[in-house]
Assembly symmetry: C2
Homo-oligomer: 279 residues x 2
């Protein structure tokens, strides 16, 4: 039996807690405010931004979307991030991807004040995480840990294998797992015999952005599989990095897509925003 490790109820619980905190903050004269900077006409990006804005509004957090257009220069984007960071009425600043050609995400994200870096994008934030100092973890990476915890999956001494080495998910997830005393392996496109490596995992995190890459042959019996992938399908749907049909029956647990990591990620972004507003 493969348990479905849903994120829906968990996310709803976090949003309820956030809504209560947002109401308190608003009553105290500090209405929490999240700003999202966009410089793309990408449709799936627009869909994601709308879903964040909706979730924010439903929990009582104001959400500004600052659309600089797909021809925005890196200078313009950096200046906007700096301006929002120094605005005392703004508590969280997110830079949405993709970016215009020539703009480097990690470089621009350095303009986000770490205190408002609610999606952990500033390289300083990643460094602080790696050094074990307080920081907002990238929400997707943190969602992996929060999901594992909510389903009671033990991490200390477990072997966690992360497929994907992105700065926004794979690497911070590896640091968070390491901090929780897992032995951590990071795999990627150059890994030889990926399936042999991933089969050694007690906890397998697929964060590579390749639809249904992970199949039954990649998964040990009784492994727990967290699917971070959200790959759009031609018919307008969403598919993960894990082939759920293949893995079901073999893994001990699997997060669904949609309804797994995604809603928890959004809820954590909102939680970070109220945490920032409290400080």
């Amino acid at each position: 039996m493969t348990a479905t490790l849903s994120g829906t109820e968990l996310a709803a619980g976090i949003r309820a807690e956030v809504a209560a905190a947002a109401a308190d903050l608003t009553a105290a004269g500090t209405p929490p405010h999240l700003a999202v900077v966009v410089a793309t006409a990408d449709e799936s990006s627009a869909w994601y931004v709308r879903s964040i804005a909706r979730a924010a509004q439903r929990t009582g957090i104001a959400c500004s979307v600052v659309d600089l257009g797909e021809t925005a220069t890196p200078e313009r984007i950096g200046a906007e991030l700096a301006a929002l960071s120094s605005d005392p009425a703004v508590h969280g600043v997110i830079l949405q991807t993709p970016l215009p050609a020539g703009a480097v995400f990690e470089d621009l994200a350095a303009s986000i004040d770490p205190a408002k870096d609610v999606d952990g994008a500033n390289p300083l934030t990643l460094g602080r995480l790696a050094a074990g100092l307080p920081a907002f973890a990238p929400a997707t990476a943190e969602a992996v840990l929060v999901l594992l915890d909510s389903h009671g999956i033990p991490l200390s001494g477990a072997h966690a294998v992360v497929v994907g080495r992105s700065t926004v998910v794979g690497k911070p997830a590896a640091h968070l797992l390491l901090q929780r005393d897992a032995t951590v392996t990071v795999c990627h496109s150059r890994t030889k015999d990926l399936a042999a490596v991933t089969r050694t995992a007690d906890v397998l995190v697929a964060a590579v952005g390749r639809p249904e890459l992970v199949t039954a042959e990649h998964v040990a019996e009784d492994a727990v599989v967290i699917d971070v992938g959200t790959n759009p399908t031609p018919d307008g749907g969403l598919v993960g990095d894990v082939d759920a049909g293949s893995v079901t029956g073999r893994a001990a647990g699997l997060t669904p897509v949609p309804g797994g990591v995604g809603p928890v990620t959004t809820a954590l972004l909102l939680r970070h925003t109220v945490t920032s507003a409290r400080c």
Copy 2:
């Protein structure tokens, strides 16, 4: 046959290159200058600082040791690091460990200007490394890579296992190996069956600070073993994290202690200092 992967000649080559650069800089009116901040009476730390100062002077780099004493407060140490960072005549700033009780290395190192952070101690530096942005890597972690390269050990697709998860060595070494397309596993004190994990390594990096922890049973035949450990022995000698007697004959290559990672680390610190002085 186990090859001895010496760092001595490699370090001498780097120092010669640094000496030439230092002479040019001095002739051009910018004599390179390294400052080491000390707040301990620890004898092995004092020994290490003297060896850095000697190596600096021999390559034409001025080296100031600022000894704040073992009762220095974190505020005093942070202020000194900030003052040296803003001194245009200083090009490299190192904070020596151990620190007085109550002082947190990573917190204090945040006061070192990243442009002068020649031992990669500032959390921002680690974040920039992890994000693939230019930064001075911690010299010990970089020495691991430079040693592997100098002996022609291939890394792309190789499985590298790092034993130790410190912010100064294990984690940055893992990022550098990942950047070079190795599949990377980080082990530590909570790892279950350490020997079973380390035996899967093509490249094994021992950076755990436990004398002779790694023995033949931890090492696959034909693995390359890099010993980062420098553990003082009661008789005033130095022993690595690898039991060289046990591993010799099994591994394809092993770095000696002393004469392996150590001299390369010092040479890289000096190289970082002249690089900083050039900017």
